[in-house]
């Protein structure tokens, strides 16, 4: 399969990259590992005029601890994240999620965490070859006016299948977006739009520079379901974070539950998680209740567009959340 034509730009510094982005804007795309972008380009889903490569920008590849945060450069490879003791110990859900991404030989060395967050949403009706798509009317994401996944939908319901983003949102991560002469920090939970055509609230001239993961204690876990244990994207996943009360170590003081692969973005379920406040780490009944509530909320968003029946995926939301909560609780006790 041939790639469409483009011009390749290889900036040597971040400033140069931001200059190029400011000049070319919509006509340019950032190339990190390429394991998402190049596949979409081969399918003719986008044809950028310029690719701006991050290859020379070693300054965007790091994992470091600063105060109570772990800072990760956007170009850090999935393999480096898996290998990091710091992340393994203080942001376990991210480590577990990265291990599950695709397969060792696809992403782990070339794929990056920035590209993982910004990989485009997916849908069985859309992520197909030019030939396949040419046989039918274009859907919203393809420039048309219909949606094959949900009847009469006025917008695109493509699914965010990023393992990394789901885990990071559970950990309460923030991201730093840089543009020429400017930088802003956004909570990852507020980074998504409500339309799958352009799922991210990022400008064409902005570059994802850094991911900031709070590491103030707490225990996290990630669980996912996919057809095969490797290569395949998740069809349901869940990341959770449990924080313990300072005075009573076996009591949950605060919890976060995020369900992924069920909607246009990972779903941050604050209300469902708040039911765990004040509960004991051993209270599996409470976990079950929170997991079922998560299932009910997530079910409202999901459409049948990433494989397996919707009914099965919905039931498995509860299971994934439950397993993640149990695993986080176990980790907290240890």
């Amino acid at each position: 399969m041939r790639l469409p034509r483009f011009d390749y730009l290889g900036p040597d510094t971040l400033d140069e990259a931001l200059d190029l982005l400011a000049t070319h804007r919509e006509e340019a795309k950032i190339l990190a590992g390429g394991t998402d972008l190049l596949v979409r380009m081969k399918k003719g889903l986008l044809t950028p005029k310029f690719l701006i490569s991050l290859k020379a920008l070693n300054e965007l590849s790091y994992i470091k601890k600063e105060n109570d945060c772990i800072k990760i450069g956007a170009r850090t490879s999935i393999a480096d994240i898996i290998a990091s003791d710091l992340i393994q110990k203080q942001a376990r859900a991210l480590s577990q999620a990265c291990e599950k991404i695709g397969a060792v030989t696809i992403q782990h060395y070339r794929g990056t965490i920035g590209g993982n967050i910004l990989q485009n949403n997916r849908c069985h009706h859309y992520n197909q070859s030019d030939f396949h798509r040419s046989g039918r009317q274009a859907c919203h994401k393809d420039g048309g006016k219909i949606c094959y996944a949900r009847d009469a939908s006025d917008r695109c319901n493509s699914t965010c299948q990023s393992d990394g983003a789901t885990a990071l949102m559970a950990l309460g991560a923030k991201i730093v977006l840089a543009s020429k002469g400017h930088e802003r920090t956004v909570d990852l939970a507020n980074f998504y739009t409500t339309d799958g055509i352009m799922p991210f609230a990022i400008e064409s001239y902005e570059l994802l520079k850094e991911i900031i993961v709070p590491a103030e204690g707490g225990s996290s876990a990630y669980q996912r379901l996919a057809y095969r244990s490797a290569i395949d994207y998740p069809i349901v996943c869940a990341g959770v974070l449990l924080k313990l009360s300072a005075s009573q170590k076996n009591i949950i003081d605060d919890a976060r539950i995020v369900v992924g692969a069920m909607s246009r973005s990972p779903l941050f379920l604050a209300r469902e998680a708040s039911s765990l406040k004040g509960k004991k780490l051993t209270d599996t009944e409470a976990f079950k209740k929170a997991a079922d509530a998560s299932m009910n909320s997530a079910a409202a968003f999901a459409v049948h567009n990433v494989g397996a029946t919707l009914e099965y995926r919905c039931v498995m939301v509860s299971e994934m959340v439950f397993r993640a909560l149990k695993s986080a609780a176990q980790d907290a006790k240890a």
Binding site: M1, R2, L3, R5, F6, D7, L38, V39, I231
Partner: protein, 169 residues
């Protein structure tokens, strides 16, 4: 979109090639350099038949731009043997009957070779994980996994295998 002259270091030899920005490493290997060991099957990162090493790490050459492969050491399946002397791993694939149609084999070998560099006698679980990004339609994987786990045995029949894999010969 002008073509660009670049130099690629493949199997410890420098190659001068003229590439377009949208040429993948796989296309340059196969179409320009006649290194047709690496196969294109899916072309979209799923199957692993195009796996090569970049600086000792297994990667998909169908999802790597030739331009991005500059400056690193590329190894393809052609670089495993020393002349006509097959590597232990290659011999083990033959001894264990791990090759049927052979289309996945170059990719399997490259994923396995990278694993053996860090772990010369891996167990089954580690091997399966390292090969999890490579799809084979023919063998059912069992013989491939055996071949990799026992690659350190320089024998034509593997003493570690309880069943005689070559009995069909």
């Amino acid at each position: 979109m002008d073509k660009i002259d670049i130099s690629l270091n493949i199997n410890d030899k420098p190659f001068e090639v003229r590439v377009a920005p949208n040429d993948t490493l796989l296309e340059v290997l196969r179409d320009q350099l006649d290194l047709t060991g690496s196969k294109e099957s899916c072309g979209e990162g799923v199957c692993g038949s195009c796996t090569v090493h970049m600086d000792d790490k297994p990667v998909r050459s169908c999802l790597t731009l030739a331009l991005e492969a500059q400056g690193c050491n590329i190894k393809t399946v052609e670089g495993l043997a020393n002349g006509d002397d097959l590597s232990d791993l290659q011999q083990s694939f033959i001894d264990h009957g791990a090759v049927q149609c052979g289309f996945c084999t170059p990719g399997m070998l490259m994923s396995a070779d990278a694993l053996l560099k860090s772990n010369p006698s891996p167990n089954e679980e580690t091997t399966r994980k390292a090969l999890s990004g490579n799809i084979c339609r023919c063998t059912g994987y069992a013989k491939i996994v055996e071949a990799v786990c026992h690659a350190a045995n320089p024998h034509d029949r593997c003493p570690d295998c309880k069943t005689d894999n070559n009995s069909g010969e």
